[in-house]
Symmetry: C2
Subunit: 411 residues, 2 copies
């Protein structure tokens, strides 16, 4: 039998704070690299905790839990930004390798710190710190209504963002009284949203993927088109260079996603919206659509391995999120998978093991091909079917006469 | 916080007997499908046990261990053939869904049963059961020396196969006395070896991948070229149809790999060598090289999901096995990864978490591209570097003057 004489050569251990779908998909990439991702989960039912072998249970704001996670690991990294920066500083002071480090990560945790750090480097919306309702109105006098009110920390997927059509001192006062640090931003008039993702290693190597278009609904990303259609090559290069410069300026290690507003289709019209320093929804398409996925690349970067090739594997990739439906779905998820596989044998499905709740990201699908409209239609149909148990185009596996056929059988 | 109101919709659980690299890679595929592979491992250090969340420890010939593995699972399937067929029959009698079922799997467990079952369906080498040394010599009188002596059960990777240049009654008698059931086969004169892989569902849907060439060294697969170069389209179709017919005849559920001898480049010249009913080394290229990997497809098939598309994602894919070197390697595996990633940012690496021992499969690499010779050279260089810590082409990361440079630094 295969009883090894010696243990295998040690390969690195990456520990990730958080055990959501990003950790879950990072574990898939870790397996290929001979590794096994260690995760800090808040519950055994977290998406990554369901599939990982090395699960620590604990809260991301518990220093002892973080210390336990870090023990024996080669690098600590993140599935989300909800880790108190001061705890990461404590870990770093104890010699733990934290990537991105707290000085970099703070720019993805605190939107005001980020805005100030990018002054002079990137075009941004006009913004102001909000300490009283008057601060919002002062910004609006310069940039007009509507104005965007944002929680400086903790918002995501449209949460922590309020679009104000006019002064709303009651809301502002209430949020401030509740201890929510706030900022106001000019509501940028734009053509669409873009995202560009880069990876950067501790020794400074960096690599960018193609620029993508992200399609939002109710403040949440629903679709990613890779590459962004009809984007001028000069603008593509400018967006990638901008992200690389930001990664360098902020000393990012691991992945950086830069969400951009495309205001006029030109390089000069690119406006920085948000930053994320981890694998990001805008990069899920890379699992099948690029030679190196964002998840593998994040592991390579935080371990200071040379980065992988970022070339696309197909002319077009479209990722569509599977969001929990507004009302309970009659068709069980397993049966939805059956029908999806039957109709679209080529669409790749990623399910996260999460309970379905309205608008919650419970999975995504990726379609690849040559023509954007066709690929996009397949991805959208697949995702909405998995979300709702209804085919948006009225398709039936029983054929166009299905209703009549059933009547006949019933008779 | 994200506390779900209800648990997620139940998705199926597949249980795999064995926790080697095939189970390890199947788990990666299961994660995408919202599942978590359950494995029966003989040790916590087994490749899949290192990365799976749902690990049962036990022996594959222990009925109680198999029962425990099967409890609550939707299907039981296999990482290897080393499971006593009668135990699978017992499980099946108890209502466990075993895929492939024992009546099918026996053809991958017993080469003589397989030969007899394929009579009239496929061209095969002349063969004979061996109950005494005289049986070998009788076959050789018909087909000439050398003659192949094979263990009817349990051989793999060249083990359990002996090439006899002439009568060797002592060897045959010794093996028989040790209880090894034997058969003899004509040594087929061939141009090369091919493999064709198909998946088949319980309800009879089937799908084939492109036919590949497998390159052997010392009886062990070292390289897979996908698609098989210079293979006539008629022969490709014939090989695929042959595998589909075998899958149907034997009522295979899950994957079937058919290893073939290409004796003259024609469809009529295809000779069946071996069968495997599980993910197979000849299909590792599908992870990146086909729209649906063999691992995902195996899960789909054993769960009776509609099968995934098998189209290639690139004109050429070459998989090369990383085999343990004959002598201990000076460069640690982690450092070998560093240099590999630096030289070949596009080559995809799969490491299994196994200790390196001579000729042991500890990982594989896959390269993709447009031109076979170039892609093959990259894959071969990458695999031999990971195996030995030496670049077969003398390449140095320090450039051609590396030796001289080091001398200068030392001076």
């Amino acid at each position: 039998m295969d009883v090894p004489a010696a243990p295998p050569d040690r390969l690195p251990v990456v520990a990730m704070v958080g055990a959501g779908q990003l950790a879950r998909m990072t574990h898939q990439a870790a397996i290929a690299l001979g590794q096994s991702l260690r995760v800090l989960a808040t519950a055994a039912s977290d998406p990554a905790a369901l599939v990982c072998a090395d699960v620590h249970l604990g809260a991301p704001d518990d220093l002892e839990a973080l210390r336990g996670l870090a023990r024996g690991a080669d690098a600590v990294t993140f599935d989300h930004e909800g880790v108190p920066n001061e705890l990461l500083r404590a870990l770093t002071a104890e010699g733990v390798v934290v990537r991105p480090g707290p000085d970099a990560l703070v720019h993805a945790q605190d939107k005001l710190v980020m805005r100030r750090a990018l002054e002079g480097l990137a075009r941004m919306p006009a913004y102001a710190e909000v300490r009283s309702p008057a601060d919002v109105d002062a910004l609006a006098r310069r940039t007009g209504w509507p104005t965007v009110l944002k929680a400086v920390r903790g918002g995501y997927d449209g949460r922590g963002v309020w679009l104000l059509d006019g002064p709303d001192p009651a809301l502002v006062a209430e949020l401030l009284a509740a201890g929510t640090p706030l900022m106001a931003e000019q509501a940028v008039s734009m053509r669409r949203e873009l995202a560009v993702q880069v990876a950067r290693s501790p020794h400074g190597q960096a690599a960018a993927w193609p620029v993508v278009e992200t399609v939002q609904r109710d403040g949440q990303c629903v679709e990613v088109l890779a590459p962004a259609p009809d984007l001028d090559p000069t603008t593509v290069a400018a967006a990638q260079q901008l992200a690389l410069r930001i990664a360098d300026r902020l000393d990012v290690t691991g992945l950086l996603a830069v969400e951009l507003f495309d205001t006029d289709g030109t390089a000069a019209g690119l406006v920085v919206n948000e930053l994320a320093m981890r694998p990001h929804n805008s990069g899920h398409w890379t699992i099948e659509g690029a030679r190196t996925s964002q998840f593998e690349q994040h592991l390579r970067a935080v371990l200071d391995y040379p980065l992988g090739a970022t070339e696309p594997t197909a002319p077009v990739a479209v990722m569509a999120n599977v969001l929990g439906a507004a009302t309970p779905v009659a068709v069980p998820l397993d049966e939805r998978c059956h029908h999806l596989f039957g109709r679209f044998p080529d669409v790749k499905v990623h399910l996260y093991g999460k309970a379905e709740r309205p608008a919650r990201k419970v999975g995504h699908v990726t379609a690849l091909g040559a023509r954007l409209e066709e690929v996009r239609a397949r991805a959208a149909l697949a995702a909405s079917w998995l979300s709702t148990g209804e085919w948006a185009d009225g398709w039936s596996p029983y054929g166009p006469d299905a209703a009549r056929t059933r009547e006949v059988f019933r008779a």
